[in-house]
Structure formats: C-alpha cells, structure tokens
C-alpha cells in the first residue's frame, strides 16, 4: 500500500489511455509523456500498460508500507528515498516504511513514477487513466488528495536488475524546444505569411496549461476568415482560435472542436510536448509523414531494446 502524505501540485493515476470512446465525446486521457511513461514501466519490470503516477511541476511525498521496487522517468524532481538521492530515469529499491519525496521539476513539467506490479484501481471503460473533466478513472476521477491509499499489484520479478537509463536514451530537457510538425487539415486556409511565421517565429509558453491544452502566450498568428464546423481534434493538434493564440492539444482535450488546425506535433515529440513549462520557448519545423513515422519507430526501437536488455 502507498499512502499519499502530500499529493504534489497535480498528481493523477494514468496508463496508456482510454481509446475507443471519442465518438461519445470521451477524451483518451492517459500519460501525457508516453515515452517517459513506457520507460518507467519497463524499468520497474511492469507490463507496458500498467498504471503509474503522473506528477506535474511538483511531485509530493508517498509512504510505502512494504519493501518493493520502483522507477522514475520524465522531468527531474530530485527524488529522495529516506533522504537519499535517487538518480532520475532509473530503477531503485524501496525499503519497507520508506518515504519517497519528489521535489519541484527543475526543467520540464511531468514525472512518471512506476511501482513494480503497477498501481491497482478499478478500470473504467478498459482504462485506469484519470480524466478529471469527465470525473472518471484513477481515484474517484480526481487528482490525488492527502491520505489517499493506493493499492499495489503483485511484483513478478523483484530481483530484476536495477538499471540506470543511458543519457542517449533520455529526452533532453531545456528552456528552448524544437517540435517537429506535419501540416494540419486546415493548413491551407492560412495565408502564406501566417504559415511562414508559424515555422520561423519563436513562441513563448503561457502559464495556462493543464492536461487538455497547453497555451502559447505569444506571438499571435494571422487567422484566416471563415468559420470551421467542429471536427475531430487529436493529440498534438495545434489549434488557432480567433485571437490567433496557438493552443497545443493534449489527451484530455474535447474530442471535437471548431478551431482551425494549422499543424500536428509528431508522435515522437509528444515526450517534449508534455514537458513545455511556462516561459519556455518553442520553435516548430515541418517534416514529412515518412520522417515523422521514422522518428516514432526509432523511439519504439529504444523501448523494445530496453525491454530485451532487462529481460536477460
């Protein structure tokens, strides 16, 4: 059992998401940084879809009754166990009675903590992911509160190798980000100069960001005339509302919306998209469908290689 001593700024239970219900207006939810999420689970010896804690900005304090093993990946929150520092992107032992203390994210925003055996909650529509806007999943469809008790699944390989992920396999964090994009369904509605600005300007992330949308404060983009009838809007979409302020779409976003989509962030860069913090700078560059898929395949290869490495 894990007891939440302090829940941090916004900690929820997430897994690989609740796919299959967007027709009914239910967002997919799930870990915002799918790469860090998968790495954390593999490092902890879990099956790929196990439920983990997703922490935002500041992680909180968690008490463990029994001895177990866990892993942490994503933004570095200076994790300590009973006061001893633990390296980020690594597997570690958790002694009985231990307190895990996650601090503030130094760079980036989101950290994934996987415990061996996974966190056990009642799945809703095939997923444990918390969707706060729908009020379902995780613990009562909400973020964690002080005193919440989290059940842990059975750890199948407690003797698995303690492993530290090599730096070349980690997402690189900073205050300046480069995101690769492919053109969105309404890209050709925008003027040539708006498209040029989109790919050449440096954009500043605003402080308005939750699990649905990450807002860009400036600069604004020229918005074409005309109204778009709502269409399905997916993860990574870059929406341009009437004011010209870009919105980056995340997995708790409504499933359909009437904003023009100038571009989509590629799947391999979701791991960066989840980490954009207020004041960070971001530039977009266009890639082809093929290189977007190649980048995603490369990421999946790393995940498979790690899986294989830890099996031996």
């Amino acid at each position: 059992m894990i007891t939440v001593i302090r829940p941090g700024r916004f900690t929820t239970i997430q897994d690989a998401g609740r796919w299959g219900y967007q027709t009914w207006g239910l967002p997919i939810s799930g870990a915002l940084d799918p790469y860090a999420y998968q790495i954390a689970n593999i490092l902890a010896g879990n099956a790929p879809g196990a439920a983990v804690l997703e922490m935002t900005d500041e992680g909180g304090v968690y008490h463990f009754d029994n001895e177990t093993m866990g892993a942490v990946a994503g933004a570095d929150m200076s994790l300590t166990i009973n006061g001893e520092p633990v390296e980020n992107w690594s597997t570690f032992s958790i002694p009985a009675g231990a307190n895990l203390v996650f601090g503030k994210a130094k760079l980036g925003r989101r950290t994934y903590f996987a415990v061996c055996g996974g966190i056990i909650v009642q799945p809703i529509l095939d997923s444990c992911s918390t969707c706060v806007t729908a009020g379902i999943g995780g613990i009562e469809g909400r973020r964690l509160y002080v005193g919440d008790m989290l059940e842990i699944g059975i750890c199948r390989n407690p003797n698995q190798k303690r492993y530290v992920l090599p730096p070349k396999w980690r997402t690189v964090y900073g205050h300046e980000w480069q995101l690769a994009v492919t053109p969105g369904p309404q890209a050709n509605w925008f003027s040539f100069s708006a498209r040029k600005d989109f790919l050449s300007e440096q954009f500043i992330i605003s402080s308005h960001a939750d699990r649905s949308v990450c807002e860009i404060a400036s600069p604004l983009l020229d918005v074409p005339k005309g109204e778009l009838v709502s269409d399905a809007t997916g993860w990574g979409a870059i929406e341009v509302p009437a004011g010209g302020q870009l919105l980056l779409v995340l997995p708790d976003h409504g499933t359909t919306r009437g904003f023009m989509k100038i571009a989509y962030v590629i799947q391999a860069d979701y791991t960066k998209l989840a980490q954009l913090a207020a004041g960070d700078k971001v530039k977009f560059h266009a890639v082809t469908w093929h290189s977007a898929v190649d980048a995603y395949k490369q990421q999946q290869k790393t995940i498979l290689a790690l899986q294989k490495l830890l099996k031996n």
């Binding site: 207006g25 806007t133 729908a134 969105g184 009838v229 399905a232 499933t255 962030v265 995603y296």
Partner: protein, 244 residues
Amino acid sequence: MYSEFPSVKLKNAGEGGLLVVFDNKITPRLYAQVRSFVNALAKKKLVGIREIVPSYCSVMVYFDVLAVTMPEMKTLAKEALAEMEPEDTQAYRILHVPVCYEGVLAPDMEKVLRITGLTKNELLRIHTEKPFLVYTMGFSPGFPYMGDLPFSVPRLSSPRPVIPPGSVGLGGSQTGIYTVKARGEWQIIGRTPLKIFDHNRSQTFLLMPGDYVKFEKISLAAYFELRDQVAQDDYIPHLEVIEL
C-alpha cells in the same frame, strides 16, 4: 463511387490521423453521408484502425502508424467511399427523453422567451414536436449536440460555473443535454431525470451520434418520481428503433 463525391477531401491530421472532409456545413443530408461512410469503413475491419470519430460533416480515422501507412489508409477510405450505401436505407434509433420545463429546473426560460418572442407553449411545441438528430458528441462525455432549431439564441455572456447533469440547454440553433456537472454557457430551459452518461452502468452512454432525441414534457412531480426510479436503476429508457 468515390467520383460521386468530387468535393470529398482526404486530409492528414498528424501521422496517425486521416480526416475525411465532406463539406463545411451542418445539414441532415450531409450528416447522413457521414454516417453512411462510417458504416462502410467499419465493415472493412482493417487491422490498425484505432478509432473512427464522426463529426457534423467530416470523419476522423485514427490509426496505428506501425501497422498501416497513410497511403494505405487513404486507399481504404476511397474504397469505403465507393461502397457507401444510400443514406436513406439506414435504421435509426429515437430515445424518448422526459424533460421538466418548470421553475428552478428552467432558469433561463423567461430570458429565452423574451429573446425569441415565442410564448412558452410555442417554444415547448418546437422543442417537443419532432425528434432532433444527434450530430455529434463532445464538450463533455456523452453530451449530444442536436439540431436544428428554427431560431437562434445567444450563449450566456459569462458561463455558469456549475450546471447540473440532466440540464437541457439551447446554444445557437442547437439543443443539448449536460451529462456531467460542468461549467457552461448554454441557456437552460429544463432538466431530464435521465442519466445520458453513467460510467457505473453497463450501458455507459444512452445515446450515440446518428440517434434522434424526442423530448417529452413532464410535470415537476413526474420529474422527481422518475429521478428516484433512475437512482434506483428502476427505469428503462424508451428507445425506439426505426427500421427502413
């Protein structure tokens, strides 16, 4: 045939999304095409399709890029366009939704009557006379966007912080039902005791896009009676299937 839809556009929406765009309008006829296309595509059962999400006049296909390529997906979409059944041969469902249009359950009723110049009887006749098509769902899980009203009402200038589930609202020339406690800016003219979305129930969603909703006026007393029945899981929603 695909050539019968020269205006259909196939648009990339991320590397794992294909948006099939029929037009940029809201009409029942266009929506029938959307529905017919979804049926044709669903029949093909291609491995790698993660989800098919229809909207008013377009259909999104989300797929796994490790299993299918975009050119393959586009070919499949064109085949489905060619195999679309005529839209007027499809069965449809009508959910009968009891609504109380009285007192505190209809906080914006007076305002809506003032804006539209209708009497309450006229408004209720329009709202309960014929079934409304559910074009799409969104905003919150299971929230049905239904058209088409013969008048239009503005949204609230500042959203209400909490709208109880079951509230029936008007926004523009559409009507909808709030399914979870939410912030909202539609004008509320009544409330249904039905739970359109309930994750504790085996049938999580009472409605899906393409269904029709027939509103039925009930009294305040009937509202409370039905609400108790729903709470005790003792109420079977009246769902009519129209075969053609």
